[in-house]
C-alpha cells in the first residue's frame, strides 16, 4: 500500500478533511492531505549573516514499504535546493529514496521506505526568505561617564508568508528565545544585559571623520571580560545612548552604528560633537628644500591651537595624515604622546587645560623626494 502524506506550512492548519487531487484550485491554495502532522519543535536560526534557516520536526506515520510524502510551501519562499530532510533519530529504520519536484509548484514529494509500519519523527531544515533580523543596543551611561549598562536587543520581522505559532529563535551567538510570530509581525527581544561596563570617553579631531574639523565625542567599549563585556561577538547594529542625569531620569545623548566587534576588539561610538573644545589649524612653515632637478624635499610646520572651554581638563586625540615619504622632526611639541599608526597616519594625544586656556601642538615634518 502506498501512503500519501502531505506536509504544508501553517496556512494549511485547521483543514482536516480530504481534499482531492483533481480539485480545480489554483496552486496558491492547493492543499493535499491525508494526514497533516503538526509542526513540532520549530527552530529559526540566524547563524549565517545573510540567510535564515528554519528547522522543524514532524512525526509521520509510515506504512511498511514505500510511502510518498508531499511537502508544499505555496505562499512562502523556501529555497527548495536547501531542504534537508532526515529522521531525527539517525538509527530509525527508514530510507529516503528520492525527491521529486513537480513543474511550476512550490512542492516536492519524498519517497520514503520503511522497514515496518511506524511513526517516525523527521527533521526538516530549509532556508526561508523574508525573515529579517536586526540587532540594536541601548547604552545607559552613568553620570560620571565611567561605566554603562549595555543592553542587546534582537528584532525579527516575518514577511515570509508563514507563521510560527511557537518557535525557538536562535541568534548567531547561540542565544535562544521562544516566541510566536505571525506573518507580517515583528518582535524585539532583549537577549543580553551587561551592567557596570567600563567605558572610555575620547575627544577626537580627525578631518576624515568630520570635514569641518570639529571635535567628536566617542565612547570606546572594549569587547573584553575585563571591562564587563567579552561574552559574545557584538553584531553590527544601532546603539542608542542615554545618560543618567543624576535626578533619577535619563537623557538621550546620541546614537551611532556599532560595527561588528569580535571578542577582544573595540567598538567605537560617536555620540556627537564636543562643542566646548575648539581646534584651529594653521600652516606656519611650507618651504621647498634640497632641490635636485625635478625632485625636492619640503619643510612643513602645522600648528594646532586647542581650546577646552570645559570646567575640567580634557585629553584630545588628533588623528593627522601626511602622504608619501615623510618623517617627523624632533622639535614637534605640545603633545603628551604620539603613535604613528601607519605610513600615512599619526595620532597625537594633547592635554587641554580647562576654561579655555589655549594649548598648541606643533607638528614639524619633512616630506622627502617629492616630484
Amino acid at each position: 500500500m502506498n501512503k500519501r502524506l502531505m506536509l504544508s506550512l501553517a496556512f494549511a492548519a485547521g483543514i482536516g478533511s480530504m481534499i482531492g487531487f483533481f480539485n480545480p484550485v489554483p496552486a496558491q491554495a492547493r492543499i493535499k492531505l491525508a494526514t497533516l502532522p503538526d509542526r513540532e519543535a520549530v527552530v529559526v536560526r540566524f547563524d549565517n549573516p545573510n540567510v535564515v534557516m528554519v528547522e522543524e520536526e514532524r512525526t509521520i506515520s509510515l506504512q511498511k514499504g514505500v510511502n510518498n510524502v508531499d511537502f508544499s510551501w505555496a505562499g512562502t519562499q523556501i529555497d527548495k535546493g536547501s531542504i534537508v530532510f532526515r529522521p531525527a533519530d539517525a538509527a530509525a529504520k527508514v530510507e529516503i529514496l528520492s525527491t521529486s519536484y513537480p513543474p511550476g509548484e512550490a512542492a516536492l514529494t519524498w519517497q520514503i521506505s520503511a522497514a515496518e509500519a511506524m511513526s517516525v519523527k523527521f527533521r526538516l531544515s530549509y532556508l526561508m526568505a523574508n525573515i529579517q533580523r536586526e540587532t540594536d543596543y541601548r547604552m545607559l551611561v552613568s553620570k560620571d561617564e565611567q561605566t554603562c549598562s549595555f543592553k542587546h536587543y534582537f528584532k525579527i520581522r516575518n514577511w515570509s508568508g508563514g507563521r510560527f505559532a511557537t518557535a525557538d529563535f536562535v541568534t548567531r551567538d547561540g542565544k535562544k528565545f521562544e516566541k510566536g510570530l505571525e506573518n507580517g509581525e515583528a518582535k524585539r527581544v532583549l537577549v543580553n544585559t551587561w551592567d557596570k561596563v567600563k567605558l572610555t570617553k575620547e575627544y577626537v579631531y580627525d578631518i576624515t571623520r568630520n570635514g569641518e574639523g570639529k571635535v567628536m565625542t566617542d565612547y570606546v567599549l572594549k569587547n573584553a571580560k575585563e571591562i564587563g563585556l567579552g561574552a559574545i561577538p557584538l553584531e553590527y547594529g544601532k546603539v542608542r545612548i542615554y545618560q543618567d542625569d543624576g535626578n533619577g531620569t535619563t537623557a538621550f545623548t546620541g546614537e551611532d552604528w556599532g560595527r561588528f566587534t569580535p571578542i577582544g576588539d573595540d567598538m567605537r561610538l560617536n555620540i556627537g560633537i564636543a562643542q566646548d573644545i575648539k581646534i584651529e589649524m594653521k600652516k606656519m612653515v611650507n618651504d621647498v628644500q634640497n632641490r635636485r632637478g625635478n625632485v625636492y624635499d619640503t619643510d612643513e610646520v602645522d600648528e594646532y591651537e586647542i581650546k577646552n572651554f570645559k570646567d575640567t581638563d580634557a585629553v584630545v586625540t588628533l588623528v593627522l595624515r601626511v602622504d608619501g615619504e615623510w618623517e617627523m622632526k624632533a622639535d614637534t611639541s605640545g603633545h603628551e604622546s604620539f603613535e604613528r599608526i601607519d605610513n600615512e597616519t599619526i595620532k597625537f594625544k594633547v592635554k587641554a587645560p580647562a576654561k579655555g586656556t589655549p594649548v598648541k601642538l606643533k607638528f614639524h615634518y619633512q616630506k622627502k623626494n617629492v616630484w
Binding site: P24, A90, D265
Partner: protein, 435 residues
C-alpha cells in the same frame, strides 16, 4: 507522450497526406537515457518490437513538440534474426513536416522483430549537488552527494534506464538548435495547476521499487560509477520515470567522517581580495572518498549544532574535482579571525638623474601584517603577498617563494591570540629596474 511510431499501411507512390493511414502504434519495450551535463544533450535509445510484412515496409516516426535533433534519429535492427531479416532501404524527411521521418524497411521474413531507435534530444539535464554537515570542531564532515535529473524535453520517458555522463564533450552545433523548427527561446506551454497535481499523483502511482508491494525495507538506489575514456558514467540502478517538466533527486553517495581542515587564507589569485575561511579536504581514500571524480555542483554546508540539529554555514559552486585532487571551499570572511595590513613606511633612495630630470629611483616599503584569532581554538593561516616589478623581499618571518611575484607564509595561531609579521619590499623603478 508526443513521440509516435506508426507503420504505414498502404505502400503506394502517392503523396503521404492523401493515402496513408496508421495501422499499428507499438509502444517502447525499453528505453535508456544517457544524459550529459556539459552540454544540453541526451542520447535516447529505445527498443520496440514491430511487426513487419515481407517486402517493403514504411515506418513513420514523428516527434512533434519535443526537442529531438532530426539529424540524429537512427533505426537499427536488434539481434541476429532481425539483422538477417531487416534492411533499412532509405530514410525520407517529408517536406510538409519538420518533425517527422519515414523509414523504408525491406523485410525478408515476415514477423515481429526488435528494433532500436536512437536519437539526441535536448531538454533533459542532470546536476550534481552536495550537502556537507560539518561537526562542531570543523575537523570532520558527512558529505552526501545527490544527482538531480530534470526533464524539460517535452517527452515522458517511462521506466527508463538512466545513465549520467560526467565530463566535457565537444559539440559543433547545439542540439536545441538542430531540433527545428522550435526556436530555443520559445517558451514552453505552461501546465494547469491541476495537471501538476495529477502528475504528482501519477508519479506516486508509478513510484519506483517496492511500490504497491507492501514489501520490506527498500534501500535507496545505488548509483554505479564507471570510467569511459575521458568521461565517467553514473548508472542509476533500476529504472526511473521522470515526467515532462519534473525533476527528481537521487542520492549518489553518503560518506561520514571525511577529515576536514580549516585554513584562513589571503590568496587573492584563488579566493579574492578578502582574508577568508577555507574548508579543505581531498577526494582520496585517506578522506574516505576518491572512488570517483566529483562533478561540478553546488555544495551546501551545514554545521552540526548538536542533537542532530543543523545551522547553515553557506553554499558555493564547486568545479569538477578529479580523483585525488584537493577541494577548497571558500565559506567567506569570518569576523572572528581577521587580518590587518599596514604600510608602516615608504622611503625612496638611489635617485638617478639625466639632464636634471629624474630617471630612476628605488622605494623601500615596510609592511606589517597582524592576524587576530578571536576564536576559542587554534587556526591555520596562509597569507600570500604579490608584488610587481623588480623587487627584493625581506622578512624575519618564514615567507616562502610561491611564484616569481608572490611570497607566502603559513602558520598556526593559538586560540584568542594575535601575531604580527613584517616584511620589507625594495622596488627598483625607472632606469633602476634591472628587469
Amino acid at each position: 507522450m508526443r513521440l509516435t511510431l506508426a507503420i504505414l499501411a498502404l505502400l503506394v507512390a502517392v503523396p503521404l497526406a492523401a493515402k496513408e493511414e496508421l495501422v499499428t502504434l507499438p509502444g517502447r519495450d525499453s528505453v535508456q537515457l544517457t544524459i550529459y551535463n556539459s552540454e544540453d544533450l541526451t542520447l535516447v535509445r529505445e527498443r520496440r518490437t514491430l511487426s513487419f510484412k515481407q517486402g517493403s515496409n514504411r515506418l513513420q516516426f514523428s516527434w512533434a513538440n519535443t526537442l529531438i535533433d532530426p539529424t540524429s534519429v537512427e533505426l537499427q535492427p536488434v539481434g541476429d534474426t532481425a539483422k538477417a531479416a531487416i534492411e533499412i532501404a532509405d530514410t525520407s524527411y517529408p517536406a510538409e513536416s519538420h518533425e517527422m521521418l519515414i523509414w523504408t524497411v525491406s523485410c525478408k521474413t515476415a514477423g515481429a522483430h526488435v528494433v532500436e531507435i536512437s536519437y539526441f534530444t535536448s531538454g533533459i539535464s542532470w546536476q550534481a549537488e552536495y550537502t556537507g554537515v560539518v561537526n562542531a570542531n570543523e575537523d570532520s564532515m558527512t558529505l552526501t552527494a545527490y544527482v538531480t535529473v530534470t526533464n524539460r524535453s517535452g517527452e515522458e520517458y517511462e521506466n527508463a534506464q538512466v545513465r549520467l555522463v560526467v565530463g566535457t564533450i565537444n559539440l559543433v552545433e547545439k542540439i536545441v538548435n538542430l531540433a527545428t523548427p522550435r526556436p530555443q527561446s520559445q517558451p514552453r506551454p505552461s501546465r494547469e495547476d491541476q495537471r501538476g497535481a495529477r502528475d504528482m499523483d501519477r508519479m506516486a502511482e508509478k513510484g519506483g521499487p517496492g511500490m504497491g508491494g507492501g514489501g520490506g525495507m527498500v534501500k535507496p538506489k545505488e548509483i554505479i560509477k564507471g570510467g569511459l575514456s575521458e568521461y565517467y558514467i553514473y548508472t542509476v540502478e533500476g529504472q526511473e520515470t521522470i515526467p515532462d517538466q519534473w525533476s527528481k533527486r537521487l542520492r549518489s553517495f553518503e560518506v561520514a567522517g571525511v577529515p576536514l581542515k580549516t585554513v584562513y587564507r589571503l590568496e587573492p589569485a584563488k579566493f579574492g581580495p578578502a582574508f577568508t575561511k577555507v574548508l579543505e579536504f581531498k577526494n582520496d581514500e585517506e578522506h574516505k572518498l576518491g572512488k570517483e571524480p566529483l562533478p561540478d555542483g553546488l555544495i551546501r554546508l551545514y554545521k552540526d549544532q548538536g542533537m542532530g540539529r543543523l545551522g547553515y554555514m553557506g553554499a558555493l559552486a564547486s568545479k569538477y574535482i578529479p580523483k585525488k585532487d584537493e577541494v577548497k571551499i571558500n565559506v567567506g570572511p569570518d569576523a572572528e579571525c581577521t587580518l590587518a595590513i599596514k604600510r608602516l613606511s615608504i622611503k625612496k633612495k638611489d635617485l638617478g638623474f639625466r639632464n636634471n630630470w629624474l630617471i630612476g629611483w628605488t622605494t623601500v616599503e615596510q609592511f606589517e601584517l597582524e592576524v587576530k584569532n578571536f576564536r576559542g581554538r587554534a587556526v591555520e593561516v596562509e597569507i600570500h603577498r604579490t608584488m610587481a616589478g623588480d623587487f627584493d623581499f625581506e622578512s624575519p618571518d618564514k615567507f616562502e617563494l610561491h611564484d616569481a611575484a608572490t611570497r607566502k607564509v603559513a602558520f598556526r595561531l593559538d586560540a584568542n591570540s594575535a601575531r604580527k609579521l613584517s616584511y620589507t619590499v625594495t622596488t627598483r623603478l625607472g632606469e633602476n629596474a634591472r628587469k
